[in-house]
């Protein structure tokens, strides 16, 4: 899987998206994450591994704790992709303007523009 595929795979799961949303407000530990999700720590850890492999989060070692946070690099990859999507959306509607103009134009010869 390339980086973007890995990122979208990671985002395909509602729990992982919720984890990212939680991390948007700052660094947290596995224990703090597990609480609101009513999941075991190993289950949360598996989700974190997927997010980490996709480059969406990073974890550091602090004694016995391994707090995790959003990884700007991975987020940037998604952002670039979204940016392309948004350009595509704008491009689509520009093209739709042309289609609509053609629909309006009378089909007969010498039609006024």
């Amino acid at each position: 899987m390339n980086k973007l595929d890995a990122a979208f795979f990671a985002l395909s799961d509602p729990t992982r998206r919720a984890i990212l949303a939680r991390l948007a407000s700052g660094e947290v530990t596995v224990m703090e994450l597990a609480k609101p999700f009513e999941m075991t720590q190993p289950a949360i850890s598996r989700h974190l591994k997927v997010l980490e492999d996709a480059g969406l989060i990073s974890r550091r070692v602090e004694g016995t704790r391994r707090p995790c946070r959003l990884d700007p690099g991975g987020i940037e990859t998604i952002e670039q992709w979204l940016d392309l999507m948004h350009k595509a959306l704008a491009r689509n509607y520009d093209r739709l303007d042309q289609v609509l103009a053609e629909m309006k134009r009378p089909k007969r010869k010498g039609a006024q523009r």
């Binding site: 509602p14 948007a24 509607y93 093209r95 739709l96 629909m103």
Partner: protein
């Protein structure tokens, strides 16, 4: 006139709107007739839509397949729920990238405005967390940047 806008509404909604210099009937047809859809709903330059199924009736299916002509592609499937000709379309869709994305429930309305049409697309995501994740992953920022660019082009 043709500025694209995006706002969030409530906990789960994302709203896109745009104005067109054409009557609602024409804009509605361009959203429901395959031979018209295939002319504009294409994404980046170079992409085409070789498959366009659009059964514009309640219960009808939609399937759009895009290709970049070099072996890359993706598709969307969906179902129409409600249609009021030239005024409103309600459908549900999901993308396959190839992983299936969560269902996106979309209501599109076409209103007469100053001799043209105001099109509003209200997308509802499955839950607040999904939308929060979208925003957390920089969607809002990315959109603002591209809208700013778009504005400078218009």
């Amino acid at each position: 006139m043709s500025k694209l806008t995006l706002t969030t509404e409530g906990e789960r909604f994302v709203v896109v709107s745009r104005r067109f210099r054409a009557p609602p009937e024409a804009v509605y047809r361009a959203h429901t007739e395959p031979q018209l859809i295939q002319k504009w709903l294409l994404g980046p330059d170079g992409w085409t839509m070789p498959v366009c199924v659009c059964e514009a009736r309640p219960g009808g299916k939609l399937r759009y397949e895009w290709s970049n002509g070099e072996g890359r592609g993706f598709f969307v499937t969906g179902e129409f729920l409600e249609l009021e000709p030239y005024r409103r379309i309600v459908h549900v869709e999901r993308m396959f990238l190839p992983e299936r994305t969560p269902d996106n429930h979309v209501e599109t309305t076409f209103e007469v405005e100053r001799g043209g049409t105001l099109m509003t697309m209200r997308m509802s995501l499955p839950d607040a967390a999904t939308r929060a994740a979208m925003l957390a992953t920089g969607m809002e920022h990315g959109m603002e940047a591209s809208f700013a660019r778009l504005e400078s082009m218009l």
